[in-house]
Every structure is written in C-alpha cells, then in structure tokens.
C-alpha cells in the first residue's frame, strides 16, 4: 500500500507539472504569435505614418511650387507689360523723331520759278528786269513751312524729310534742305488736317506775296500722302541728361 501511495503521489506531482506546463506552453505560444502580429502591425503602422508624412511634405512642395510658378508668371506678365510699354514709347519716339516713313491725309504745295514772267519782263522791260523777282527763294519755302508748322505733323520738301534740326538755306543760286540740294519745282508735302492747312496757307503773308508776284503755286489736298523717313542723325555730342531721383 505504501508503494502504491508513493506511486500515486509521484503521478499526481507529474500530472500537476504537465498540466502547468501545457497551460504555460499554450500561453507562451499565444503571446509569441501576438507579439509577432503586434510587431508586424507596428511596422505597418510606422510605414503608413512615414508614407503619410512623405505625402504631406510632397503636397506642401506642390503648393510651394505652384505659388512660385504663379509669382513667376505675374513677374513675367509685369515684365512683358513693361517691355511692351517701352516698345510703344520707343516707337512713339521714333515716330516723333521722324525715323519712320509716314502716311496720312494732307496737302501738297508745289512752288515753281516764274519762268514765263521772267521771259516777258526781259523782253518788255529789260532795263528794270531783276531775275531774283521771278525765282523761288529759300525764305519762301522756310516761311511757308514755318507758318504752317502749328497745323502740320510731318513735312517734306522734294521728299526730304524736315525734322526739328532741319534747315533750309541757299548756297549761291541753289536751295539746300538738310544739306541736300533741291531744284524747282519744289513740292512741299505736309501731313495734317488738309482744310486747316489750306486755310492757314491762304492766310500766310508770304503766300499772298508770292501770289502778288505771280509765282506759280499749286495747292492740292489729298487723303493719301506718303512722307519718307529722316535719313540724317541727331547729334548728342554736348548735351547730357540731368541726373534725376527715382523717387516718384
């Protein structure tokens, strides 16, 4: 009986140990599987968070780049406006300086020497004949052009453009316009209001004087006049810009 009791006791102890170990093993196994799952899900969560961060930073970059593009575009537009404004100014200045060929309405005044009158006077009254009374002088051209200057926008004499620095003078028996010799008939082309030009011309004392002396003058109004560009240059040897502050 004693041996039996010891055997039963040993069996019982072993059974307790086995039962404990079984539960222990199951518990540990579950925990291990759980740990693995936890680890992998942690890893995935971390990855997701990283990717989300990446996406957020990339989105921010996109927004930054977009605003940069916009600012550059506005800058470009601004500079384009500035350039076009400057181009307009430049073309306007070129126009005013006479560097461009122009067209428009206006009048053509044709002056010629009074050859017939001269021949007649020579024949009938040779003693009092004065040839200078029968030819066109430089001042005739100058006075007529200047008297019309307030109504004229562009002027040419025999297709030589007159600008601010132009001169009309005589050298001996020849009239020079912009240092170029011109010969009769003198064709003065003026772009402007044709009616106003015509009226101003008829009021001009020099015109009346020339009519009095029977000089052949022809006045023609036209709607389509072409005046060539100024072929000379403006000299800027002595003049200088006065320095200006940019505070406007």
């Amino acid at each position: 009986m004693q041996k039996f009791a010891i055997n039963t006791l040993i069996m019982t102890i072993i059974a307790i140990a086995v039962g404990f170990l079984v539960v222990f093993a199951i518990y540990s196994n579950k925990a291990a599987v759980g740990q693995q799952a936890d680890a992998s899900s942690d890893y995935l969560i971390k990855q997701i968070e990283e990717l989300e961060d990446d996406a957020a930073s990339l989105e921010k970059q996109i927004i930054d780049t977009r605003s940069q593009i916009e600012s550059l575009q506005t800058k470009q537009e601004n500079s384009q406006t500035i350039i076009s404004n400057e181009e307009k100014k430049l073309s306007n200045l070129n126009l005013m300086a006479g560097f461009t060929e122009l067209t428009g309405p206006g009048i053509i005044i044709t002056l010629d020497d009074n050859t017939e009158g001269a021949a007649l006077a020579k024949k009938t009254n040779p003693s009092t004949y004065q040839p200078e009374n029968f030819i066109v002088h430089d001042k005739d051209l100058l006075y007529i052009v200047k008297s019309l200057s307030n109504a004229s926008e562009a002027v040419s004499i025999n297709d030589i453009r007159l600008v601010d620095t132009s001169h009309i003078r005589c050298v001996g028996t020849v009239i020079m316009v912009n240092s170029t010799r011109v010969a009769p008939p003198y064709e003065i082309k003026i772009i402007g209001n044709a009616d106003a030009l015509e009226n101003t011309l008829y009021e001009c004392s020099r015109y009346k004087y020339l009519i009095q002396y029977d000089m052949p003058i022809k006045v023609e109004k036209t709607k389509d006049l072409t005046i060539p560009a100024y072929s000379g240059v403006y000299s800027a040897k002595y003049m200088q810009l006065v320095p200006q502050d940019d505070n406007e």
């Binding site: 039962g19 539960v23 222990f24 540990s28």
Partner: protein
C-alpha cells in the same frame, strides 16, 4: 487513479494563475518539452495499468525526455534543421501508442470487473479502482 487526474486539473489551474508569457524563441522549446511531459505521464499511466510502474523510470523519463526534446529543438535551430520535428514525431507516436495501450488496459479491467460482478451479483462489497490497480500491480 483519480488523484493524478485531479493533479492535472490543479496544474492547469496553477498555469492559468501563474503562467507568464515566455519570449517567442523559448515558447517553441517549451511546447516540445510539454509534448515529452505528456508522453511521460501517459507512459506512467500505461505502466501502472500493465503493472510495470517504476517511479524512478517515470521521474527520470519526465525530466530527461523534456530536457532532451528542448535541447534537440535548440540544436536544430542552431544547425538550421527542423530537428524539433523528430521530437514531435517520436513523442507523437509514443503518445498514441501509450493511449492505445491505456485504452486496452482499461477495457481489460472493465471486463474483469464485469466478470467479478457476474460472479457475485448480490455482493454489496464495492471494488474500487485502487484495489484493482493494486491487484494488477502484484
């Protein structure tokens, strides 16, 4: 007979009460050791039924088998071989062998008891399992 089964339940309750999770790498070795322990206790039961129970065999078998199984699994891990499978197969086979032997032993005892009852149908003396196991051991 009932005491070891009671002990098993006590062990399970103790496990539920005090078990803590081992690190994942040791959980596998523990499982192998548990398999060895199960084999040992079933072997003890079988030996008891067959009357060949020896406490030192059971005790040494329990500890050495569990330790060796765990060691084998560890060695397998070191070598990169699934050596724990060998332990699983061997102990699995032995557990099934033990179970079948126990089943046969129990059936035999049941038949003996039936025979006993048939011989003395009016007998009021109760034959306990302990008495039978003592008889079979002797």
């Amino acid at each position: 007979m009932w005491l070891p089964i009671l002990g098993l339940f006590i062990g399970i309750l103790l496990g539920i009460g005090f078990a803590f999770p081992l690190p994942a790498i040791y959980a596998e070795y523990l499982s192998i050791a548990v398999l060895a322990g199960l084999d040992s206790i079933l072997g003890g039961w079988r030996a008891g039924l067959e009357g060949k129970f020896k406490s030192n065999v059971l005790l040494s078998g329990f500890f050495v088998n569990a330790a060796m199984a765990a060691l084998l699994a560890y060695l397998g891990d070191l070598l990169g071989l699934d050596l724990y499978l060998a332990a699983v197969i061997v102990f699995g086979l032995r557990i099934f062998n033990n179970i079948s032997s126990i089943r046969r032993g129990l059936l035999e005892r049941y038949n003996i008891r039936k025979h006993h009852k048939n011989q003395q149908p009016s007998s009021d003396s109760q034959i306990t399992e302990e008495q039978i196991s003592t008889k079979t051991q002797k």
